[in-house]
Amino acid sequence: MKMLLASFGRDFLDSLARVGSLNVMFYRTLRSLFPPRYDREELFRQLHRIGVRSLPIVILTALLVGVIMVLQSMTYVRKTGATGFVGAGAGLAVLSELGPSLIGLMFSGRVGANAAAELGNMVVSEQVEALRALAIDPIRFLVAPRFVAIVTSLVLLTVVGDLCGLVGGAMACHWLLDIDWRTFVAGLMEVELLDDFIVGLVKAAAFGGVISTVSSNYGLTVSGGAQGVGRAVNGCVVTTALGIFIADYVITWVWFQI
């Protein structure tokens, strides 16, 4: 019992330390963004690796989200004949909630885990120490370009994902429900979706901040060689998913208040 309590206490203190460390990392990253003196080559490298290479997986995810949304509503629509609501329902779900959340989670698995592993390997092989030895701040050189690239990419990919989600929904309507795509678009137009689109982008930016901060923090605090890198990637994936849901809840709550 004593050992169980001790283990629980240790985990609790470790979690508190991690939350503190994440806040410090977020603050230092924001501070290193201004004035924008980070390495441009590194920024473009990250934008290509993170943004461009994530495009296919984001398009596929978003198309499937649109299709699934329409499929979910199939029974209700067939029963009631409320075909005009399919577009509105799919649009609301895709733009404000499912689009940014699922793309964010997919992105965190692909990009966040990769960034944590890459930075962790740089720590293990003393590349981060080499930067410090050269008087180069690792946060400014390594973290800031990743932060900008992840946030920018996720916002832009969410725009693309929103569009693909709606296209997926329209295609599912046409082929699976036999509803004309014009009915789907008309349903979309009937409801005011600009606010939902904007809140979706705000969420995407926040999720990008979470993914970048968590992955950089886990990566740069690796200790214990290759095993440590594995632990960091694991911890990063779990913490990022949790962070995305917390950020989603907070933004949604604030949005409904204003």
Partner: protein
């Protein structure tokens, strides 16, 4: 190519007094005091685990010792503001024991890294020193290769070229010849001596390969169990050094293990 800052040869580049460093309650370095001057080639020797690498890390400000009075380039490090500490570090070159090459950059960019990012040179200006350094270490023509495409020995030479290209006022080479064949080891050691002479820098070399180290050094600092066991001219080493140092040197030169030492020299990296 130099850092562009002159050093008064009478003033030590590195001055350290009473350096003590603990890790997890264990005393790794104990009351170390040293004065190192420009133009000196200092051999840092000692058995594995004696504290050489930790001493190097403290001297180049990568590790803050538990207690010390450290002056670099005649400035007290503890009082330096962040900007001045950056300036100070940009005058130091460290070749890491594990190379610490950036694996996503090719050889040219690795060697040019300090020039581009710490000194703010353009790529065109950096090209000359980079190619010259690569030529010196025998790696001309490998500019576009990634570190993963090179052998361990070649990667070590790239790490050495990175230090040489930047021509720092204080250069530290941590185990520069480990993993190199005898011919390349001799070449690298000769290069280091030549480099020290031409750059008028302070050069510190830590290695277990004493056979090649001693001929190029003017001074030897022996670290045993975290303490300075000998600090003096190389030519006096075998006549005035304490017994344990002489035994260690003799064992290292003959290639035999000294049973009284914790670890046989040459068995692992200079730590």
């Amino acid at each position: 190519m130099s850092t562009g800052q002159t050093i008064d040869p009478k003033r030590p580049v590195v001055q350290v007094r009473g350096l003590t460093h603990r890790i997890g309650g264990r005393r790794i370095l104990d009351d170390v005091s040293l004065d190192l001057h420009a133009g000196e080639v200092v051999g840092l020797i000692g058995p594995g685990g004696s504290g050489k690498t930790q001493l190097i890390r403290c001297l180049v400000t990568l590790t803050w010792p538990s207690r010390a009075e450290l002056r670099l380039f005649d400035k007290p490090v503890s009082l330096l503001r962040r900007r001045h500490l950056r300036e100070c570090r940009s005058r130091i070159g460290l070749q890491f024991q594990n190379f610490a090459l950036f694996d996503y950059l090719d050889v040219w960019n690795n060697v040019a890294f300090p020039l581009l990012h710490a000194r703010g040179m353009t790529r065109a200006d950096a090209d000359g020193p980079v190619r010259k350094a690569l030529e010196r270490v025998g790696l001309a023509g490998t500019e576009e290769k990634l570190p993963a495409e090179l052998s361990g020995g070649m990667r070590r030479r790239v790490a050495i070229a990175r230090v040489m290209a930047a021509a720092p006022s204080f250069a530290v080479f941590d185990d520069p010849v480990a993993g190199l064949d005898p011919v390349n080891s001799a070449k690298i050691m000769a290069l280091l001596k030549d480099y020290a002479r031409s750059a008028e820098s302070l050069v510190v070399v830590a290695t277990h390969d004493l056979e090649r180290l001693l001929p190029i050094t003017s001074r030897v600092v022996a670290v045993f169990k975290g303490r300075i066991a000998y600090d003096g001219p190389t030519h006096d080493l075998m006549s005035t050094a304490p017994d344990e140092v002489r035994r260690f040197v003799a064992a290292a030169l003959s290639g035999e293990a000294d049973p009284e030492l914790d670890e046989a020299p040459g068995g692992r990296g200079a730590s």
